[in-house]
């Protein structure tokens, strides 16, 4: 009995090692090929670089030039940080307002926000990009309005779920002591929302950073974020420079992996909380 249990443990361990290799393998292939000449990638992606195929950093310099990767990185970083910040700010206030103020209007708003969570982007993409163009918000600053609007369904839903669970007595005490709603919100309510805010921040960061269609349709012709820059390498009808592609894929993954390893505890917790509540 004891022996067989130990055996199954090692079999399980072996399976998990194989699975982990299966997860790492594609990433390793990308890294390896980013140092190979583009002529040798399509046919022999699994061969290690050797004297004839090794090209040093050529793919990186080519890729950086063709995609404008650094500016794409800058746009991605700015749009993600600003969108997530304003989503957190706007939706925490909105959620507090619609939870604490009862009435027809606030419940209609709540249902509309919940409904927006299930509507696929394809439903609004055409008209949304037209409106963005008409309002002149089809630029890296204006797109934040679009992200706040499209992201606020889930965020408001999660914030108001949490606000419903905190006792109203604290807020009432603050107001009786003479604090106005602004002070009450920013000094009493907001600090209590911290853990929900971290969860929402993680989910929204993952969405905005990786999003392709919205930046492509609204600002894509002038300003490219990382996903748009990578897809841009495909070009029109010509063949893809797979060398540059490999190098850019690696550069695109690197910050994500570093970020993940640095805060994986929060990320896994956040994703878990988001899945169960959403």
């Amino acid at each position: 009995m004891q022996v067989s249990k130990k055996h199954t443990k090692w079999i399980a361990f072996a399976i998990l090692v194989i699975v982990s290799l299966y997860i790492i393998f594609p990433i390793a292939v990308v890294v390896m090929n980013s140092f190979k000449s583009r002529l040798f990638i399509s046919n022999e992606p699994f061969a290690l670089p050797n004297e004839t195929t090794f090209v040093g950093l050529t793919n990186y310099t080519q890729g950086l030039m063709k995609t404008g990767f650094f500016s794409a990185f800058g746009y991605s970083l700015w749009i993600t940080l600003a969108s997530v910040f304003f989503i957190l700010l706007c939706t925490s206030m909105l959620a507090w307002y619609i939870t604490r103020v009862s009435g027809k209007t606030t419940s209609i708003i709540y249902y509309l926000l919940t409904f927006s969570m299930i509507v696929p982007f394809q439903m609004v993409m055409f008209t949304m990009s037209k409106i963005a163009n008409m309002l002149g918000i089809d630029n890296p600053i204006g797109i934040i309005v679009l992200y706040v609007g499209f992201g606020c369904g889930m965020a408001t839903f999660m914030f108001s779920g949490f606000i419903k669970s905190i006792p109203i007595a604290l807020e009432e005490a603050a107001m009786i002591d003479g604090a106005n709603p602004v002070r009450t919100f920013f000094f009493i309510v907001l600090p209590m929302l911290k853990s929900t805010a971290i969860t929402i921040a993680i989910l929204e960061t993952m969405w905005v950073w990786n999003d392709y269609l919205m930046p492509y349709l609204t600002i894509g012709t002038e300003y490219r974020t990382i996903p748009v820059a990578i897809q841009y390498l495909r070009g029109g009808y010509g063949s893809v420079d797979m060398g540059a592609m490999m190098a850019m894929l690696f550069l695109a993954m690197l910050p994500v992996i570093v970020f993940y390893l640095a805060c994986q505890k929060y990320i896994i917790k956040g994703v878990l909380a988001g899945a169960v509540k959403g």
Partner: protein, 281 residues
């Protein structure tokens, strides 16, 4: 208190609501209206009734094809992802050395964006097929299974994390009681573990269902719908209807409405099922 908060509507509610109306409410209503109209620019709109909806199915076979492809892909992927994720979760809740490291690694692909993922697997699948003088464009089945493998690689870790949390919440004494009664591993699994994690199974099934059904980025980067629209999923078919031919924007919008109705229907079933579970508890 309510009254004094109400006075601050402009500060608390308005900023979020303005954004919400600009990017969701107005585009949604406008899109719904346009699906019943014929137009190329916003100024030459004429009402045409259900013509766009009929055209969605009759101008070519691609929309129906995409529908079938998406359903098949979703069906196969949802089952594979959940069975495999559940199996990993069972393995990782048995105090095997290195559990945390394994969990970290298996979850990682979930954070990588769809476009990047699609291109990674494009290289790998083409590399394998090159040994047989073929590539991913040679046959639709390569694109189909390529997408399945890709989604499995990306989603299994996510679902696994949810299953692990659920399995760890099963009361230890129930499992011990089963062991004392001499229950086999299989009996414990089917009689105790699976019933106990049923709510998580529902969550994971619907998460993977919507993830697969709405897939776009991975589809675009992996095959872009090739060969000859054979691996085009619904989201991509809608995009192409809108943007690759002039004059079919109304048809694209009608397809998007149909797509939305299907997605909303799935969400409603999920809601009903979770409600029922909560009542049963």
């Amino acid at each position: 208190m309510e009254k004094s908060i109400r006075r601050y509507f402009a500060l608390f509610a308005l900023p979020g609501l303005i954004c919400f109306f600009i990017s969701f409410v107005i585009p949604f209503i406008w899109g719904l209206v346009l699906s019943f109209c014929s137009f190329t620019t916003i100024t030459d709109v004429t009402f045409t009734g259900f013509e766009n909806y009929i055209k969605a199915f009759t101008i070519d076979n691609y929309f129906t094809g995409a529908f079938v492809f998406t359903l098949l892909f979703t069906f196969v992927s949802v089952i594979l992802i959940n069975v495999i994720a559940f199996a990993f979760a069972l393995l990782l809740t048995r105090d095997i050395p290195g559990t945390n490291a394994f969990r970290t690694i298996i979850f990682m692909p979930n954070l990588i964006g769809g476009i990047v993922l699609g291109w990674i697997w494009n290289v790998i699948i083409n590399g394998v097929l090159a040994k047989f003088q073929m590539n991913i464009m040679s046959d639709t089945k390569f694109g189909f299974w390529g997408l399945v493998i890709l989604m499995l690689w990306q989603n299994a870790g996510y679902m696994m994390v949810i299953y692990i949390a659920a399995i760890q919440n099963i009361p230890q004494d129930e499992l011990e009681a089963a062991a004392i009664d001499g229950a086999s591993g299989w009996t414990t699994l089917t009689r105790i573990t699976i019933p106990a994690v049923m709510p998580s199974i529902t969550i994971c099934l619907f998460l993977t269902l919507t993830n697969c059904f709405k897939l776009y980025d991975q589809n675009l980067a992996l095959t872009a719908g090739n060969p000859n629209h054979g691996t085009e999923m619904l989201a991509m078919n809608i995009f192409n209807t809108f943007y690759s031919r002039v004059g079919f924007e109304g048809v694209g919008q009608a397809k998007a409405v149909i797509f939305t109705i299907v997605v909303a229907f799935i969400a409603l079933i999920q809601l009903a099922m979770t409600r029922k579970k909560e009542e049963a508890l």
